[in-house]
Structures are given as structure tokens and as C-alpha cells.
């Protein structure tokens, strides 16, 4: 019956993969014989027409004659043939004994790293060129390899899998390892072709078992977790430059400030003025808000979408949207200002590169936000401890005080001294007067005579434009923190978050959370657009396969299987204690905020209190930690969490400690047990 099955739409790769697991299965049932496979037409493999298929398949028989029907292919063919000839017919150069010994040890060493993928001649020649310096030889060979690969990649985008198989058939005396490797490599090309929507494209090619071969290659590079060879050897930096150098740079900006400072209104108006909100939508908001008697909220409604938020007139969760300036794409994160929603704000702030602090200029309002316990203070300290060092201070609602210069100066003066204390550099902070409701000084310079009289600085959009884009750690191992889990369109579920370091491509394998469960990336999207690869700093959503949705929680870290993130329940960190009502002692229960994760933890040991600026140990094993002190403490969580040392991954080595709705300390992880 196997001959009569509908094989056209079949997904050979998947079928083949699972065949070991199925009990009582005949090979005939599921697996199309590889020889038949060559002659089958499959749309998903990227062949666009039957004629192309026939044309390419000609190659199988006529391989020996150098037909000129496909140049790319022949070029690649030659490379192969040459490589093979290189290893098989290569004669060792004549050398004296010492040189011979040096050479052979060098070659052995290099072989152990690169495996059989590189021809002997290549190794020997390079070794001699670099005077048997293993380090240099390796560098050279690997560089050559990657550049070769990249060169090969693009023209091969639309290539057939059957061709390499044909080659292996005609190989005169193929060494077994070589075949596995070459087919494995080609199997990967099958993946490249795949559009993100149909990720599992077949890669059955020829008589060999490419799936197993690929796995073998993966295993040799990493004993613990299997990954495909391509994922293992990818040069992310190059990929990044290749894909992103032409784009505008991307920046994440969080908008913070005291409750009712006008953050959402300011952002809503900015979005409207930059043309990101249509007239029609705005009109709708205007009408609806009028109906409720809250017309001043019409701009805030652009970002506050849930009924709850609109009814109460406050932001509760971080709202997200984006604007494009001349040189940048800016993702706006509108943080809630209310004290109870600081956890949401922290999770937003961990994703931000820069911050915009909105201050209410109204008399009394600024003061209440700036006092002890006001959010202006807490937010500013929080974002600073979360690694944001560029800050734009927006003095909002200046229209309510008649665009008074004195008021502006007064606030600037107070803020300056405070921000300096909080650890911001003066050069990284700028002050802008504006009004979110009237839209003064948002996208155009001052029009209002009251303001025009004394203010000549940049408008808000200019300020945003001038933020520096931080360096993206693209070449580090992949890490991403999950901020949201939801059901996406189609099958599977999506997680979203920001990539902290590294890069991710479709079909990569990743590890999820503290349980280190393996999952596969089915598709990637950024701002609702499908992507094949994404990089550090991107705000993305990922569709995952092969993992249960219940095993993923908000706050867990997705990481690279080859360089997994440490998992621990106990770690040491260096903390700075803020204003606390009661001192921190041993056994003090706290809430640990790490990226988006919130986890109860206990301060289980006070190792030493240290001097704030010099870092010297002031006292070993202090009894308690009072206000504004600095100390080394050990924290223990009830469940294992993923965390990194600050010295290795800044982004993932920062923690916040909160108790009863107040941030009591910020810390950096120094040791992981």
C-alpha cells in the first residue's frame, strides 16, 4: 500500500524523525524509500515548477559531464570535488624530522577542533604558513570556513536537496564520516529554504540518514544538548551586520513618573502628532471620553486600552507602541505610575535602554511626587539601578503655571541635585518643558509666547532623537526573558520578550526556564512582521514548539542550549539598601525582581557590609543593614531561578528587592551557588 499513499504533501522529515518512537511500525509504512524520494515533487522544498525539478534531476545521471544548466550548482560542486581530492590525493610535503613532528602535532590538534570538515591540504598548508602556531592556524581556518559558508549561503537559497545526494552516490571512495558531515550540512540548507510558516521542510536526501548525521554533528560539539550544526557555528555578529546595517537603529524608551503626571497623555499626544494614530481613532476616543466626562483622558486612551484602565483613568500595565524618528525606531513603553503597579513598571524598565521621566509642574503635585514615597523618586532610582543611564526629564503641565520660567528653574534645580545623587551623570540628563495635553513643544519647537520667551532648547521629539543607542551584545550566547505568554494565531503559543544578548533564528533549539526543557523556535515575529532571525535588543514574539505551555511562566529565561544559563536557588549579591523603615536582617523575606520575574526570596546570610564607594569590607557578618548601606548578602529562593553573574551578563545580573510595596534594595549578583 505504501506505493499508493498520498505522498505529495507529506512531511518526510517529521515522519522520519518519529519513526523510532512508534511501536510496531514497518519502514515501508512511513518512510518513502530514499531513491523514490529523489523523483518526487514537493512544493514545500522550494522548487517552483515541475520543469525546474526535471532540470535539476537530470543532474543525477549526467553529473559527470559538466553541463552548464546551473552555474551555482557547478561552482559548489567543484568546491566539493576539490575538497575531496584534497584529502584523498594530497601528498605530504617533504620536510625534515622536527618540522614533520611539529606539523603532525599541529594537524592533529587542528583536526580535533575542526573535525573532518576541512581538507588535509588546507590544514597542512595553513599550518606551514603560520609556522605551526595552532592558535593562528585555527583562526585562519575557521574564518575561511565561515566566509566560505556565507558566500555559499545566498546563491543556494533556492536549491534542491537531491543534488548533494547524487554527489555522494558518485563519490568513488567516500569515507563514511565525510558523507554524514556533508549531508548534514546540506540538510541545513533545507531548513534555510523553509518559510517560517512551514518550518519543517523535508530534508531527506539520498541514501544516507541525514537526520542522524545532523545529530551526530551536534553531539560532537556539545555533549549535553543537541543543536543543529548551523546553530552551533553561526557567526552572529556577521549575520547581524548583514541584516541590520541598512536599518534604522532601534531603541526602547520607558516613560516613568508619579501617578497622574501625564505620562500616557504625553505619549498618546506624541503618537498622534507623529501620525501613528489615525484621525478617526482619535475622534472616537474624543467622543467616548467626552461621554464619560473625562475629555482630558482622550490621549491617554491611545495607550490605555482595557476597560478597567479607562474607567479608572490610570495605567495599570505597561503599554507599548512605536514611533519612527528621522534616525531611529523608538519603542515606547508607557509605565504605570501608581505605587501598586511598580512590579509592572520594573518588568517594563528591564527592557528599556533609555527613560523619559515625566514630572508634573503643577504646584503641590510636583512636591507630592518628589517627596519620600513619591513615585518620581522611586522610579528614577529604579531605572537607574536597572541599568538605564540616559534620562530625559519632561516638565509637564507647564501650562497650568502659566509657562512660568521660575517654576521650571525651581524644578530643574531640585531634580538635578536629586538625580546626581541617584547616580545619573549630568551630561546624560536633559530637561524639557512641555504640555502633554495641549501638545506644546512635543514635535514642534515652542509656539506658545509664554514659553517662547525664555525657552530655546530642543522639543521632545528632538530629545528622543538625540538619545544614544547602546551597544547590542549580539555575539554573546542567546538569552531572552519572557514577559508575556499568549495564544498566537494558528497553532502553538507565543511568548514575547526582549532579547538581552545573542541572536535567534527560526528552527533554533532553545532551553526554557529553570527546568531546562528543550523547545524549538517555530516562528519569529517583530512588530507583527515575520522574521527569520532576530538580535539582541529586539522586542520579539516567538512561537515555540515541543514544550508545554504550563512549563513556561512569565519571567523565565530562554537560553542557548550550548551555553545554558546557570540555575540556582541560592546566590550572593552586592546590594545597596535604599530608604528602609526597618533594617534588613537574616531571614528577612523579600520579593526578588529579576527581569520580569517576581519570586519570593529570603535574605539568608549577611556576609559583610562594605563601604559604599571604596568597596572595602567594613564589618563581617553585620547584625543588620540599615538605611543607605551597602553589603554582600546571600539570597535564597524557594524555587530554582535562572540568573547570571553581573560581571558576565550585566542585564541578567541585576536584581531588585522589594518588601510591602517599597523597593528596599538593588543588587548585583556576584556569586552563584
Amino acid at each position: 500500500m505504501s506505493r499508493h499513499r498520498i505522498v505529495r504533501g507529506m512531511d518526510y522529515n517529521d515522519e522520519y524523525d518519529g519513526y523510532d518512537d512508534v511501536y510496531g511500525h514497518s519502514v515501508d509504512d512511513d518512510c518513502v524509500s530514499p531513491t523514490d524520494q529523489q523523483w518526487l515533487f514537493d512544493r514545500t522544498r522550494g522548487q517552483h515548477s515541475m520543469s525546474a525539478f526535471i532540470k535539476k534531476n537530470k543532474n543525477i545521471e549526467e553529473e559527470a559531464e559538466d553541463g552548464d544548466d546551473n552555474d551555482d550548482e557547478d561552482e559548489e560542486d567543484e568546491v566539493y570535488q576539490k575538497a575531496r581530492r584534497d584529502s584523498e590525493n594530497f601528498q605530504m610535503p617533504e620536510l625534515d624530522d622536527t618540522a614533520q613532528a611539529k606539523l603532525s602535532s599541529c594537524v592533529d590538534e587542528v583536526r580535533s577542533v575542526v573535525g573532518d570538515a576541512v581538507s588535509e591540504r588546507c590544514i597542512v598548508e595553513t599550518s606551514m604558513r603560520f609556522d605551526y602556531n595552532i592558535q593562528k592556524v585555527l583562526d585562519e581556518i575557521l574564518n575561511e570556513e565561515t566566509s566560505k559558508k556565507d558566500k555559499n549561503r545566498r546563491p543556494q537559497k533556492l536549491k534542491l536537496n537531491a543534488t548533494p545526494a547524487a554527489k555522494t552516490i558518485t563519490t568513488p571512495k567516500p569515507t563514511p564520516t565525510k558523507i554524514t558531515l556533508s549531508t548534514a550540512k546540506d540538510a541545513r540548507r533545507g531548513f534555510d529554504i523553509a518559510s517560517p510558516k512551514a518550518p519543517a521542510s523535508p530534508n531527506v536526501s539520498g541514501r544516507n540518514t541525514p537526520v542522524d548525521g545532523g545529530d551526530e554533528a551536534g553531539r560532537s560539539t556539545n555533549a549535553i544538548f543537541k543543536v543543529s550544526k548551523d546553530q552551533a557555528q553561526r557567526n552572529t555578529q556577521e549575520l547581524y551586520e548583514q541584516e541590520r546595517s541598512s536599518h534604522k537603529s532601534h531603541i526602547h524608551m520607558i516613560v516613568i513618573g508619579h501617578v497622574d503626571a501625564g505620562k500616557s497623555t504625553l505619549m498618546g499626544h506624541l503618537l498622534y502628532d507623529t501620525g501613528n494614530v489615525s484621525q478617526r481613532v482619535m475622534h472616537k476616543h474624543e467622543q467616548e471620553s467626552k461621554k464619560l466626562g473625562k475629555q482630558s483622558f482622550m490621549y491617554a486612551w491611545v495607550l490605555d486600552e482595557t476597560g478597567e484602565e479607562r474607567a479608572r483613568g490610570i495605567t495599570m500595565d505597561v503599554g507599548q507602541s512605536r514611533i519612527e524618528t528621522k534616525t531611529k525606531i523608538v519603542t515606547l513603553l508607557d509605565a504605570p505610575g501608581h505605587k501598586d503597579f511598580i512590579p509592572n513598571m520594573i518588568s517594563g524598565a528591564t527592557q528599556a535602554d533609555v527613560a523619559l521621566l515625566v514630572v508634573d509642574a503643577t504646584r503641590g503635585e510636583f512636591e507630592s511626587g518628589f517627596e519620600l514615597g513619591g513615585q518620581t523618586r522611586e522610579h528614577a532610582i529604579l531605572v537607574r539601578s536597572l541599568g538605564v543611564n540616559q534620562l530625559g526629564v519632561v516638565i509637564n503641565k507647564l501650562d497650568t503655571v502659566g509657562w512660568s520660567k521660575e517654576r521650571f528653574q525651581e524644578i530643574v534645580h531640585k531634580m538635578k541635585s536629586f538625580l546626581k545623587q541617584a547616580g545619573f551623570k549630568e551630561s546624560d540628563v536633559c530637561f524639557t518643558p512641555c504640555s502633554g495635553l495641549t501638545g506644546e513643544n512635543l514635535t514642534k519647537s515652542a509656539q506658545e509666547p509664554g514659553l517662547k520667551a525664555w525657552y530655546e532648547g530642543p522639543h521632545l521629539l528632538d530629545v528622543i532623537e538625540h538619545f544614544k543607542v547602546p551597544e547590542r551584545a549580539v555575539d554573546r550566547p542567546f538569552r531572552m526573558s519572557v514577559t508575556d505568554i499568549y495564544k498566537g494565531t494558528g497553532s502553538g503559543f507565543c511568548i514575547s520578550g526582549r532579547i538581552e544578548t545573542g541572536a535567534l533564528c527560526v528552527n533554533d533549539k532553545v532551553l526554557v526556564g529553570a527546568s531546562r526543557e528543550q523547545a524549538q523556535v517555530k516562528s519569529l515575529s517583530m512588530d507583527e512582521l515575520t522574521q527569520t532571525s532576530v538580535f539582541a535588543g529586539d522586542q520579539i514574539s516567538v512561537t515555540l514548539g515541543g514544550v508545554d505551555v504550563n512549563n513556561i511562566t512569565v519571567g523565565c529565561i530562554i537560553c542557548d542550549p550550548q551555553m545554558p544559563i546557570p540555575v540556582t536557588t541560592r546566590f550572593q549579591c552586592r546590594i545597596i539598601v535604599f530608604n528602609v523603615k526597618v533594617p534588613i536582617t537574616m531571614g528577612y523575606p523579600v520579593l526578588l525582581h529579576h527581569q520580569s520575574l517576581i519570586e519570593p526570596a529570603v535574605v539568608c546570610k549577611l556576609t559583610a557590609s562594605i563601604h559604599k564607594s571604596t568597596g572595602e569590607v567594613v564589618k563581617k557578618k553585620p547584625r543588620c543593614l540599615g538605611q543607605n548601606s551597602c553589603a554582600l548578602v546571600e539570597l535564597e529562593t524557594s524555587r530554582p531561578i535562572c540568573i547570571e553573574r553581573y560581571s558576565e551578563f550585566k542585564e541578567l545580573g541585576r536584581v531588585m528587592l522589594r518588601v510591602a510595596g517599597v523597593t528596599i534594595a538593588a543588587g548585583m549578583v556576584t556569586k552563584i551557588r
Partner: protein, 394 residues
């Protein structure tokens, strides 16, 4: 707990007959019974009989056994106490020295014999038998996506269920998923309240959360109650109380119990008193660090100087296996009392007790500052650490 008889002679040796009546009494029994005591109680034993012909039959018999306790197990969730030990009294079915495991049962008398009764143990009996102290409160601490349904009894806080639901964030043009997830979460919390809260016992249900979650949930619950006709909820609507808490984690119960509205309603429960005492200790540590100490070594020295005003001690220190260590703590308690100080024994099942056990299990507020204690700890660091570790491992 009901006390049926107490015979303690001058040498503090003797026996006590008790009848546990509520699950919580098992907790008291767990604190009373130590290894080496003998317990007499009715139990069921499987007995094998061999007839003259050699065939054997086994039957279950209810009999009364006395065992010398060798190990004690307590299940906090089910409130079941199991005592394992050897039989020490001749019995029709069970040989001397045979092992048996007693499951203490509710409303069945048991007799406890100790070689030496100390004040702590006797107090524990008084406390367990005090009927006025039984006032149960249920508390739901929640935040979006996380809720704990707890029962707070006089000496225990039991987490009855923990609900964790991942709720999708609001995102552009896709608010429904968020609202659907939220509704699912509220439904689960409500079901768990229906399942775990017995309104015959529970006087008050506290619903605590940051933001508006509690109001939303309250509205949702009574909407559903009307729709689905949950009589229990509708009848007890007045018993629900909305309180602020900063998060949905268990230890924010501490904030809940400090809320003035709750204090007014629950005034004199043990849980509340403990939270307050610990708060006072922390405040003292902040304002006058020379008047607040923790750790066995410091507290013992302060006790020598008769300076202790309030002693906070966790009951897990008295449950230790080492008789001498227990005696040491008992002596400390007695000496503080003799000097006119107040002693508060924390239940390690309450959140504040949990925190105290982490803080070496023992702390003291002093009458007068003793800065010399503070300075002295540099020279013999290791002792302090060792003392701390000891109490941790208990």
C-alpha cells in the same frame, strides 16, 4: 483540646490525658510529644492468627497500645500526627517491643507520659485547652495571575491552595485574551474559596491584593454567585473584607494582618500579636540597635544581665531532639520570666514565626542598651554562626 486528667508529681514526672477535638489540636500534640515519651492510645492493629491446623487468618483489631515514641511525623496540610515506636505494655495482640505506628485520631483520648514535664509543655496544654482562642479567619492574597487561599487559625497558617495562572498582557488590539485569562483566574480563585473555606467555622474572609484586583474579584465573585446561585457565598457576603496588600505572595499576609481595619476586627488573635511583636523588634533594631538582639549567643548573654524585656522565641526550638538543648531554652524562658520579662512563643506555622525561625529562632528586646554585645561579636564570629546554624537545622 480537652484535658481529662493531669497527674504530675513533684519531680515533674507524670502523665496527662487529652482529647483532641480540632485539626489544630494535632499541631499542639505535635509540639507536646517528644521522642522518648510514652503515648497510650486506641489504635487499629492487623493481627495474624494461626489455627491448630496451620492455616493463618489475619484480622484487624481495635486495641489500646502504649508505645515509647521513636519518631514523630506531622503532615501540616492534612493535620495528621503519626507516632512510631515500640510497644512497652503487655497486650493481648501485640508483643512487648513490637513496633507500632499510632495515628492520633480526633475525638479519641490519648495519654501522654513524660519523664519530665517542663513549663513550656504545661503551658502548651493550657493554651491548647483554652476554648476562647479558636477564631478562624480565611485570607486570600492575590495579584494578577497569582493567589494564595490561606486559613489562619490560632496557631497555624495553612495555605490551602495556590493558584497560578499566566494571564496574557494587554497588547494592541488584543485585549480580549487578557480579559479572558483574568476571568479564568478569578473563577479558579472563587472555586477554591468554595472548596476550602468552611463558613461555619470561618468568621471572616480577607481578600487582599495590590491595585484593583480585589475589587474586581469581589465583583466577579458575587456576579457569579448570583448567576450560579452559590448560596454559601451570598449568605456570607458580609463576612468578606477587602484589604490592601502589596503582592499575592504568602508573606504579604503580614501586611494584611497589620492593616488597621483587620486589627480592629481580629484584635486579640495570636497571629496578630506575633506580627506586632516582630514589628516592634525590627523597629527597635532600626532606632536603637543596642537594645535589640538576635541569635542564641547574644540573647543568652543579655539574659545573664537580666536585661531582656521581651523574648521572642520560635516553638521549633523546643521541638529539637536534643534534650539538653531543649532544657537550655526552657531555662532561658524561665529566667526571663523570673526577671519580670515577657516571653512570646511564636508558632513556626505562622508567617511571622517562619521569619523568626529564619532569624535564628530567638530574638530579644532589651530594657537597656547593651552596646558591648554588639562589639563583642567580632572576636568569636564562628560561635555565633554555629549557634545560628544549629537552630536552622532543627
Amino acid at each position: 483540646m480537652k484535658l481529662l486528667g493531669k497527674y504530675v508529681d513533684k519531680g515533674m514526672q507524670g502523665n496527662v490525658s487529652l482529647v483532641p477535638e480540632e485539626p489544630e489540636d494535632m499541631w499542639h500534640a505535635y509540639n507536646l510529644i517528644a521522642e522518648g515519651d510514652s503515648v497510650r492510645s486506641t489504635t487499629i492493629r492487623k493481627v495474624q492468627n494461626e489455627t491448630a491446623t496451620g492455616s493463618s487468618t489475619s484480622s484487624r483489631v481495635r486495641t489500646t497500645l502504649t508505645i515509647a515514641v521513636e519518631s514523630i511525623d506531622f503532615d501540616t496540610q492534612a493535620c495528621v500526627l503519626r507516632l512510631k515506636g515500640r510497644n512497652i505494655e503487655e497486650n493481648q495482640y501485640v508483643k512487648m517491643g513490637a513496633y507500632h505506628t499510632l495515628d492520633l485520631e480526633l475525638n479519641r483520648k490519648f495519654e501522654l507520659r513524660k519523664p519530665e514535664w517542663d513549663t513550656i509543655a504545661l503551658e502548651r496544654i493550657d493554651m491548647a485547652c483554652d476554648p476562647t482562642q479558636s477564631a478562624d479567619v480565611a485570607a486570600v492574597v492575590m495579584q494578577e495571575g497569582l493567589a494564595h487561599v490561606c486559613l489562619i487559625t490560632a496557631s497555624m497558617t495553612l495555605v490551602r491552595s495556590k493558584i497560578e495562572v499566566s494571564i496574557p498582557r494587554k497588547r494592541k488590539g488584543n485585549v480580549q485574551q487578557h480579559e479572558k485569562g483574568l476571568a479564568k483566574f478569578y473563577e479558579q480563585v472563587m472555586q477554591s474559596i468554595l472548596r476550602h473555606v468552611n463558613f461555619e467555622i470561618v468568621k471572616c474572609v480577607l481578600i487582599a491584593s495590590p491595585g484593583f484586583v480585589r475589587d474586581q474579584f469581589y465583583d466577579y465573585m458575587f456576579q457569579q454567585a448570583v448567576k450560579m446561585d452559590y448560596k454559601v457565598l451570598l449568605d456570607n457576603k458580609s463576612r468578606f473584607m477587602l484589604v490592601h496588600a502589596s503582592s499575592g505572595f504568602k508573606h504579604s499576609l503580614r501586611e494584611v494582618l497589620q492593616d488597621p481595619a483587620v486589627v480592629a476586627k481580629m484584635s486579640d488573635t495570636k497571629a496578630l500579636g506575633e506580627v506586632k511583636a516582630l514589628e516592634v523588634f525590627y523597629m527597635m533594631l532600626q532606632c536603637e540597635p543596642a537594645k535589640a538582639f538576635y541569635g542564641k549567643k547574644h540573647v543568652l548573654r543579655a539574659a545573664e544581665a537580666q536585661s531582656i524585656e521581651t523574648l521572642l522565641i520560635s516553638d521549633n526550638l523546643f521541638r529539637c531532639q536534643d534534650v539538653n538543648l531543649r532544657k537550655e531554652y526552657v531555662n532561658l524562658v524561665e529566667s526571663v520570666r523570673d526577671a519580670g520579662g515577657e516571653v512570646k512563643i511564636f508558632s513556626s506555622m505562622h508567617i511571622s514565626g517562619e521569619q523568626l525561625s529564619q532569624l535564628t529562632g530567638i530574638a530579644a528586646i532589651l530594657r537597656f542598651p547593651m552596646p558591648e554585645l554588639e562589639d563583642s561579636d567580632d572576636d568569636d564570629d564562628e560561635d555565633g554562626a554555629a549557634g545560628g546554624d544549629n537552630s536552622d537545622s532543627d
